[in-house]
Amino acid sequence: MMLDIRRLVKHYQVPGGEPVRAVDDVSLSVARGELVALYGPSGSGKTTLLKLIAAVMAPDSGEVIVAGRDISHLTDREAARYRLCEVGFVLQTFHMIAGLSAIDNASLKLVGTGLRVREAHQRMTPLLTRLGLDERAEHRVSTLSMGERQRVAIAKALSTDPGLLLADEPTGNLDTRRGYEVLALLRELCRERDTAVLLVTHDPQAAAVADRALALRDGRLVEYLPDAPPALPTLQPQ
C-alpha cells in the first residue's frame, strides 16, 4: 500500500463548546496506481484528513503510513522534505508566481531538490508535453487559461515523481468539461506513473473515473452513495 491510514483521530477543541470530531477513527488504504475519490459535505473533515496526510498537522492518535513510513510525527524539516519528494498536491486554487513561466512554476519543486533550473526544465519538458503544455511552457502563467494553469499545477505536483498525489477539489474552479478533462488526465497519469491518488471532491464526475469512491460524514468514513449517476461529457480528440 502506498498510503495506509490506521484509526486516525483528530479532534478540535472549540472554546466553550463540545470538541469537534474532524477525523474520527478513520482507516483507509490507497494502493499504487489507484485513484480513490473521497466525498463529503462541507465540515465533514475532508480537508483535515488531507492536512494529516500532508504532515501539516499531527493526529491525536492513529498512524499515517506513506510508503511504509509513519509520517504522523515528523519534524518541520522532515515534513518539508516529505512534501518535496514523496507527495504532490493539486489544490482548487493555484497561487503560482505570475512572473514566472509555466515551466518555471512547474519546476520549482525540482529546483528545491537541488537541481539547476536548466536541468529541472529538461526533466519537466516530457511531462509538460504529456499534459499538452509543450507550446505554452515558456509562457507566463498569467497568460494561461484556468484549465492550463491546473495542468501546470499537476505537472508541479508530479515533478519529483512522488508515490502519492493528494488533490483537494482540483476541478472546483473549472467548468464541467474542463473538470472532466483534468480528472481523466489524473486517472491516466496515476496509472502510467503508478502513483496513488487521493482525490477530495464534491464533483460527482470523480466517481466515474475513480477506482473507488468513499465518503466522510462527521469525521467518519462511510460508504459513498451517489444521488444519481453523473452524465459524462463527450470528449473530443485534441
Binding site: 524539516r77 522534505r81 498536491f89 514566472l100 533550473v117 498569467s142
Partner: protein, 841 residues
Amino acid sequence: MSLRNLVWFYRRRVRARAVQELLALVGIAVGVALLFAVQVSNRSLSASIAQLTHGLVGNAQLQLVARGPQGFDERLVGRVRNSPGVGAVAPMLVSQLNVVAGDRSRSVYMLAGDRRLVRLGGSLLSGYQARSLARLHAVVLPLPLARALGVRFGDTITLQVAGRSVEVPVGAVVSGRDVGPLAQSPVVFAPIRYAQELAGLEGRVSRLYVVPEPGQADVAERSLRRIAAGHLTVGEADYDRRMFAQAARPNDQSTALFASISALVGFLLAFNAMLLMTRERRSVIAELRISGYGFWGVVEVLMFDALVLGVAASVCGIALGDQLSRHVFQPSPGYLAIAFPVGNARTVSPEAVLLAFGTGIAAAMLATLAPLVAAFRSPTMDAVDEDALQPASSDGTLHSRFWLAIGVLGLAISTVVLVARPEAALVGVVALLASMLALLPVILSVTLRLLDRGRRRIASVVPPIAVGELQSARSRSVAIAAIAGVAVFGSTAIESAHRDLQHALDAASHQLSAVTDLWVSAAGQANTLATVPFPPSAISTIATTPHVAAVAAYRGALLDVGDRRVWVMAPPRNSAGMIPPNEVVEGDLRTAERHLDDGGWAVVSESLAKERDLQVGDAFMLDAPQSERFRVAAITTNFGWSPGAIIVNADDFQRAWGSSDVSALQVRLDGLSSLAGKRAVERALGAGSALTVETVAEREQRHRATTRAGLARLTQIATLMLTAATLAIGAAMGGMIWQRRRRMAELKLAGITQRQLWRALMLESGLLLGIGCTIGALYGLGGAQLLDRALGSVTGFPVDTSLGFGVAVGSLALVGAVASAIVLLPGYMAARVPVEAAFQD
C-alpha cells in the same frame, strides 16, 4: 448608488482587508506629512515678519526711515505732522541690543514708541493700554523671551546697547493675548523717551509711520520726499516685509526646490501605498461587474473608497506633519535674524493644508484608476482571479522605447543645462528627475532579464522565487524602486549641494575673519556680521593693553538699497585682506585693493551689480545717510549674505554715515597667543563691558553656527525625506509580502522551506532596493552638480563644487539598510505562514 449602500460596501471591504487598508493609509499619511511639514516651516518665517509689520503699522500707509542706526532728528516729526496730506504720525526707535539675565542672554530688537504708535490701530498692540506704555520707566518683555531668560515682572535685567551695559527693570511681561504673534518675535518694548536714553540716542528716532489724510496719500508722500531730501528713505508702511521677502527669496527658492522634490517623493509614497490595494480592488471590481454594475457604478464605488481613504490618510498626515513642523522642522530664522526681527512663530496657512490634503486625495484617486482601467480591459472572470496580471501587451516594446526616449531626452537636457546654461539649473534638475523616472522601468526590466538568465545556472529555489515575484508585480516593483530612487536622488543632490555651499561659506567666513588676531564688537548673536555700532572710546583702552601691537577701527552696517538690505563692510585702510581673494568674480584683486585703499571706490556683489547694471570702473551713488559717489573696484560674491554686499574703506564709511562710531575693532597682538591676548583685552575692558572679544577661530565658529542654522532646513528636508521614504518603502514592501502569504503557504506545501522563503524575500527586497537606490545615487550625483549651479545662481553665495560621492554612498546605504531592516519583520512573519493556510478558501 445611495450613500448608505456605498458605506455598506466600504465597511464590508475594510473588514475583509483591514491590514492592507491600514498600510495604504500609513503610506499616504507619511507622504502628506512630509509635504505639509515642509510647507508650514517654509512659510512661517515670512508670515512672522508679515504679521509683525502689519500688526504694528495699523492704518499707516507710509513711513520715513533712517538710513543708519543713529536715526534722524525727532524734530522732523513735528514738521511731517504739519505737512500737507499727513493725518497722523507715530515715531518709533528701533535698536539692536543684547539682553542679559544671569548667565543667559538673547539678541533682540528694542521697539520703542509712544501712545501715537498704539493709536495707529495695529492689531498687535490693540490689547495694550496707551497710557500704561507712556508711564513705564522700564522695558516690556514678551512671555517666551522672559521665560528663555528666566525673568519675571519686577526683575532687573541688563541691556547691552551701543557698547554700554545698562540695568533696567522688567516693567511688564506680555503674552500672545496682549500683543498677538508679536510675543513670538525677538523684541522688547519701551517708551520712546526711555529707549532713547538707554540707547544713547536722545532726540533721535529710527522711523516715522504716517497715516495720510483720506485720499491724500500722494500728497503726503510728496511731502515726505521733500522733507527726506535724499538723506532718509520714504517707503510704504510694510516696507520691511518687502525687504525681508527679498532677503529670504534665495532661501525660499532653494527650499522650494527641495520641498518640491520632497513633495514628489510624498506623492510617490502615497501613490505607491495605494498600489498595495490594487489586487483587492481588482477583485472588488470583478465582483461588481459580475453583479451587473456598469462602468460608472464601479467608478462610484471605487471613488468613494478612495475618497474615504484619502480623507482619513490626509487628516492623519496633516496631524503627523503638524508634529513634525513643531519638533523637527522648526522655523529657524538663521542668518535672517541678523537684519530682521524674525521670530519662530509657526504659521499654518490654508494653502499648506489644502495642498497636503489635495495630494493625499489625488494619490488615492489616481491609484484607483489603474486597477479600474486594467479590470475593464480584461474579461470578467480574469478579474476574479487574484493572480491574473495583464498579459504583456503587444505594444509593450513601443512603450519601452517611448520611456527610453524620454529618459535620454531628459539626460540630454540636463547635460546641456549643466554645460551651457547653468542659470537654468532648476530645469536641469527637473529634466534629470524625469529622466530617472522614465528610465527606471527600463533599467529594472533589463536587470531582471539578466538576473532571470543568471538564475538558470543556480541550483536553488531562492533566485527563481525572488525574480519571479519581482516580475509578477512589475508596476509595484517599479513604484517601490522609484521611491527609493527619488529619495536617494533627492538626498544625495540636496545634501551634496548643501555641503558644497557650507564649505564655501566657511571659506568666505575664514577669509573675512582671519585678517587680524582679535575682534572686539558689540555683544549679541545677531551681531554676527559686526553691524551694531558703538562709540570708539574703547580704542584707547585696548591700545594701551600690554602686547597689543595695533588697534584698527572696522565699520559696518546694513543699508537698505532699493529692495535689498545690503551688508556694507568697511575694513580699515592699509589693512591686509580688505577683499577676500577667492570671492572676486570680476576685476583684478590687487588693483581693486589699491583703489579701495585710495578711497572713493567700492567692491559690489554680483547680484547688486547686475541689478544696477554696473561694471568694474562704473560710478554709482550709494544712498547712505549722506549720499556718496563711488566707482566699482571689483565685483564679488555676496559672501553668503543673500541681499548683497558692498565693501568700502572705513574712512569713506565714516564720511557717508556721518558718524565716527565703529562696529568692530581689529586687534593685532605682539608676542601673545590669541587666547591670552583675548583675556588681556577683556581684563582691560572690564567685567561690565558690553563688548565681546573674540579670537578668529571663535568668530569663524559663530559665523558657521549662523550659516549652519540658515542651511539646516536643507539637511532637515533631506533627512526627513529619507526617513519618510524608508518607512514608506518598508510599509509598501511589508504589505506586498504580507499579501502573498497564501502563495507562500502553497510553496511550503510543495516542500519549500521557511528558510528558503525567507531568503527569497530578502533577495527580492535587496534587488529592488539595490536597483532603485543605485540609480537614485547615480542620478543624485548629477543632481548635485546642477543644484550647486542652481544655488550659486539663485543665492549668489559662493559654492564649491565637489563630486558628492560620499553622500551618495551614504544615502544609498542608509535607505537600503533601513528599508531592508524594516522588511525583516513582516518578511520573517510571512515566511512563518502555516502550511495549513494553503488549504484555506
